[in-house]
């Protein structure tokens, strides 16, 4: 038993390393001065970040993804919060059905959902035009994350405060806006950040439903990676990792830990 403990510790350290390795390697690769992804790197340089900044394709893709994620997250925040309010406060016997129904996009294979949506939008004559299918897909994928986080926030709160406000003459709307909303804001923030990141990074939905014209970042990156092996892709990936970290840190500073 004495020998097992250090072995187990080593195993755990290896697993933590395994989790971090591909992410660390992408960041390191982006600093490579050479023309190809060689190891050891041929010197350090930021030249690939410079190349990336001058590449309209990737810059546009980042902007496109950010706009799409913001729009999808906004809709999900409203719908998800409403659904969570219903689930926690009003749902009776149908509660479990409501929960499973809203979590369906998370439980079902994303690529199959994307295909199902593609057929459906073609059948009703819209297809992938106007980005409606893409947007709907992103709302579906982000909704469960808002719902889960707001549900948790609501379950941890005391209903009696809102009830007290109502007895003191506050309207249903005022009581919600002044009492409940501030109380669940950490849950909303976490849900929103999660939703944004999921939308920003999701692949299957965007890949199948992107249509023609500009595409979200993961798709642009995937297309690039199939034929190119320069460290520019690593630079793009690093920027995407940094943007995510920035978002998470900002949300954490603004709303604190739950």
């Amino acid at each position: 038993m004495r020998i097992a403990t250090p072995l187990l510790t080593l195993f755990r350290v290896l697993v933590y390393g395994f989790l971090l390795a591909p992410i660390v390697i992408v960041v390191l690769a982006s600093l490579n001065a050479g023309n190809f992804l060689t190891f050891p790197p041929q010197g350090l340089s930021l030249r690939w970040f410079w190349t990336f900044l001058q590449n309209d394709v990737f810059i546009n893709a980042i902007v496109y993804s950010a706009v799409l994620a913001t729009a999808a997250t906004s809709v999900s925040l409203v719908l998800g919060t409403m659904a969570a309010l219903y689930f926690v406060r009003h749902a009776g016997r149908e509660a479990e059905a409501v929960r499973i129904g809203i979590l369906l996009p998370l439980i079902l294979p994303e690529i199959l959902t994307a295909i199902a949506l593609l057929f459906f939008f073609y059948e009703i004559g819209i297809g992938t035009s106007y980005k409606i299918a893409l947007f709907t897909g992103h709302v579906l994928m982000t909704l469960p994350f808002v719902f889960l986080n707001v549900t948790t926030a609501l379950q941890g709160r005391d209903d009696s405060i809102e009830l007290a406000a109502r007895t003191l003459g506050a309207s249903r709307y005022t009581a919600f806006r002044r009492i409940t909303l501030p109380l669940i804001s950490p849950g909303l923030a976490t849900g929103g950040v999660f939703a944004f990141i999921i939308s920003f990074d999701t692949f299957g939905i965007s890949f199948i439903l992107k249509g023609t014209g500009s595409a979200p970042l993961p798709i642009q990156l995937y297309d690039y990676l199939r034929f190119n092996f320069t460290p520019e892709a690593a630079a793009v990936s690093t920027v995407s990792i940094l943007l995510t970290l920035l978002l998470v840190t900002a949300a954490d500073l603004l709303f604190g830990r739950d």
Partner: protein, 279 residues
């Protein structure tokens, strides 16, 4: 009246799920039985040709066991890697728990394309591992780490590890340390405690983690595409190929549904086996 007004809250989400999940999935089911046609996605009438084509051509049929094998190997690797980590986090001090939790969740914050790309940099023929081994003089020819099941399983296990750790963690955190102490004071060894107490308690976590990872792994697209370099033919890759590139909707739907039903059977068998054995 109160309930009626409250139901307005759930209406938009319910409509969204019904219109854009339930109806489209029913449509896929119907689509898989439609007749194929040249020059358009599907023709008039119904047929079983999509299913017949899938099972009669070995190029397509063999992708099914390949997918299920990848899923099973990924699930097994995830379980082996995740269990000690989940156990560690469940028993760690509060400060460490936050940090370790962050490490486990960190892959989720990085897009699946970026993560798969990271693995191609690590595993490629002139990648980090092969270059390092060659520099050290240990190998002369690159080891085949990518474009095969090994690389794809490794990368998939990385991508889905958080989905194994989280359910395990929530089942392990429900464990009362007093039970273990009681067992120990009654003379049970560490192995006995693990086998008789920890393992049974974590069984629900093992079950949901395994099912989640298995389903995610067999339906993943990017990781097998990038790390497998299209040389590891999974059913999901062929489905997307049939639908997007060849425009064969009934055939693609039949393949996707066959995969989904096969996965469902595996999950049911797994659930049955684990229940009989442990509780």
């Amino acid at each position: 009246m109160r309930r009626l007004r409250a139901s307005i809250l759930i209406l938009p989400s319910a409509a969204l799920i019904f219109l854009f999940i339930v109806l489209p999935y029913v449509n896929v089911l119907v689509m898989s039985f439609r007749a194929p046609a040249d020059g358009q996605p599907y023709g008039e009438g119904f047929s079983l040709q999509g299913y017949v084509q899938f099972f009669s051509e070995s190029y397509y049929a063999l992708s099914l066991p390949q997918s299920l094998l990848l899923g099973a190997l990924t699930t097994a690797l995830c379980l082996i890697l995740a269990y000690p980590v989940a156990l560690h986090i469940a028993t760690a001090s509060k400060r460490w728990r936050g940090i370790l939790y962050g490490i486990v969740l960190s892959p989720l914050l990085v897009g699946i394309v970026v993560r798969s790309y990271g693995w191609t940099i690590l595993l490629g023929n002139s990648g980090v591992i092969n270059s390092t081994l060659r520099e050290m003089g240990l190998i002369t020819r690159p080891l085949p780490l990518m474009y095969n099941n090994f690389g794809v399983v490794l990368a998939l296990a990385h991508v889905f590890l958080p989905f194994m750790v989280l359910p395990l963690l929530s089942s392990l955190q429900a464990m009362d340390p007093a039970v273990q102490q009681a067992a120990r004071s009654l003379g049970a060894g560490r192995l006995t405690i693990f086998r008789r107490i920890t393992l049974p308690i974590s069984m629900p976590g093992i079950q949901s983690g395994c099912i989640l990872v298995f389903v995610l792994a067999i339906s993943s697209y990017v990781t097998p595409a990038l790390v497998g370099g299209m040389r590891v033919k999974t059913t999901t890759l062929l489905v997307v190929d049939a639908l997007i590139d060849q425009f064969q909707w009934p055939f693609g739907s039949a393949m996707a549904l066959t995969l989904a039903v096969s996965a469902g059977i595996v999950v049911l068998v797994f659930a049955r086996l684990t229940r009989i054995k442990w509780s």
